[in-house]
C-alpha cells in the first residue's frame, strides 16, 4: 500500500491508445502516478516494479486480461497487488470470472471518472 508521503502508483494495461491517454490524464490530474503499457506481456513485466494498483483491460491481443490476472495472482511478488479489471463487456460471466480469479474490482467502459477513482482508493486501502 502507498504511504501518505508519496503518490499512489497505478499501472494501466490497455490496447486502446485513446483509453490509455484519457485515463492517464484523468488519474495524473487527480494526483496519481501513472505508468502504462499496451499489452499483457508489458503488464507482467511492469508489475515487477510493484505498482500500488493495476488497471487491466480484459480483451487484449497476445496474453489477455484473464491470463495476466491469473499469472499476477500466482506470482509471489505480485499476488498482493490489487487488480481492477477494465472492460467493455458487462456480462455477468466476465464479472464473476474476474472476481473469482482475485480481481479487486471491475469497471465497465465507458467509466465514470469519480467511480473509477473511488474503486482505486478502495482497492489500495
Amino acid at each position: 500500500m502507498a504511504e501518505d508521503s508519496r503518490k499512489i502508483k497505478i499501472l494501466i494495461a490497455d490496447d486502446e491508445p485513446d483509453i490509455i491517454v484519457i485515463t492517464k490524464a484523468r488519474l495524473e490530474k487527480s494526483g496519481f502516478e501513472v505508468v502504462t503499457c499496451p499489452d499483457g506481456e508489458g503488464c507482467l513485466k511492469l508489475a515487477q516494479d510493484l505498482p500500488d494498483v493495476i488497471l487491466l483491460d480484459i480483451q487484449m491481443p497476445g496474453i489477455d486480461g484473464y491470463e495476466v490476472l491469473r499469472r499476477l495472482k500466482n506470482g509471489e511478488s505480485t499476488k498482493s497487488i490489487p487488480v481492477i479489471m477494465l472492460s467493455a463487456s458487462s456480462s455477468e460471466d466476465a464479472l464473476k470470472k474476474t472476481l473469482e480469479a482475485g480481481a479487486a474490482g471491475y469497471v465497465l467502459k465507458p467509466f465514470d471518472p469519480g467511480a473509477l477513482i473511488e474503486t482505486i482508493r478502495k482497492a489500495v486501502k
Binding site: E16, K29, A88, P110, F111, P113
Partner: protein, 226 residues
C-alpha cells in the same frame, strides 16, 4: 443478429465511446484548462450525446439479459441523494436545451433498487420528457410513497401521446408500428427496457396521457423485498 454478433458489436462500440466521453469529461471538469462559454457548451453537447449513446448500448445489452432472465437487479437501499447524483447529467441536458427540470423528492429518503439500472430507467424517461417539452414548460421528477410502494413519476408537459396509444407505449415494437406518430422524440426501445427493468424489480410502470396533455410515466417500486 445472433447473440454472439450482438455481444461483439456492443463491446466494439463501448471502447470508442469511452474515449469520446472520457475526453469530453476531462474538458468539462476543467482539467485541461479554462474554456470559453461557447467551448463549454460544445463539450457539454459531446458529453451528453455520448452518455445517451452509452445508455442505448446498455439498453440493448440489458434487454437481452432481462428477456433471457440472465440479468437480475441487485437490490439495495439506495439513498435518493445518490440516485439524483446519477441523474445530474439530465439536468445539464435540460440546461443546455434551455428547458426546465424540476425535482420534488418529498419525504422519501431511500429506494429499494439496483441503482445503476434504476438510474438508466429514469434517465431514459426524463430525457424523453425533456425532448417533448416546449420552451417555457417544465418536466417534473416527483417521488412519493405509500405503505407498499415508492412511486416515481416523470410528469411531462409536451404534446403527449394519443390516448389509444398509451397502453402500447412500452411495447418492444411501439416505434416501428407507429412511425407516423408526430412527437419530437417519442419513446423507442428505451421504454421497452424501462418496462422490463421495472418488472424485474417486482414493480410496475404506468403511463397517462392524451393529445396536448403531456405524458406522465409512473414507476411503482416495492418497499420490501419480494
Amino acid at each position: 443478429m445472433d447473440k454472439d454478433a450482438e455481444k461483439i458489436l456492443i463491446h466494439d462500440l463501448r471502447n470508442p465511446l469511452a474515449a469520446i466521453i472520457g475526453s469530453a469529461e476531462l474538458f468539462n471538469d476543467g482539467l485541461l484548462g479554462d474554456l470559453t462559454a461557447e467551448q463549454r457548451d460544445q463539450i457539454r453537447i459531446i458529453r451528453t450525446a455520448g452518455r445517451m449513446l452509452s445508455d442505448i448500448i446498455s439498453d440493448l445489452q440489458d434487454i437481452r439479459g432481462l428477456e433471457d432472465g440472465d440479468l437480475k437487479p441487485v437490490l439495495a437501499d439506495v439513498p435518493v441523494s445518490d440516485l439524483l447524483k446519477e441523474l445530474k447529467w439530465t439536468g445539464d441536458f435540460a440546461e443546455k436545451e434551455g428547458k426546465k427540470l424540476e425535482i420534488n423528492t418529498g419525504r422519501t429518503e431511500r429506494v429499494l433498487a439496483d441503482k445503476g439500472i434504476l438510474a438508466r430507467v429514469l434517465s431514459a424517461l426524463i430525457i424523453n420528457a425533456l425532448k417533448q417539452e416546449s420552451s417555457g414548460d417544465k418536466t417534473l421528477l416527483r417521488i412519493d410513497e405509500d405503505k407498499e410502494f415508492v412511486k416515481i413519476s416523470i410528469v411531462g408537459s409536451g404534446d403527449g401521446v394519443p390516448g389509444e396509444l398509451v397502453p402500447k407505449l412500452f411495447d418492444k415494437n411501439f416505434k416501428t408500428e407507429n412511425p407516423g406518430l408526430k412527437t419530437k422524440a417519442g419513446p423507442g426501445l428505451g421504454f421497452y427496457f424501462c418496462k422490463l427493468a421495472v418488472l424485474a424489480h417486482g414493480g410496475k410502470i404506468e403511463a397517462e396521457s392524451g393529445r396536448g396533455k403531456g405524458l406522465t410515466v409512473t414507476i411503482h417500486l416495492p418497499k420490501q423485498r419480494k
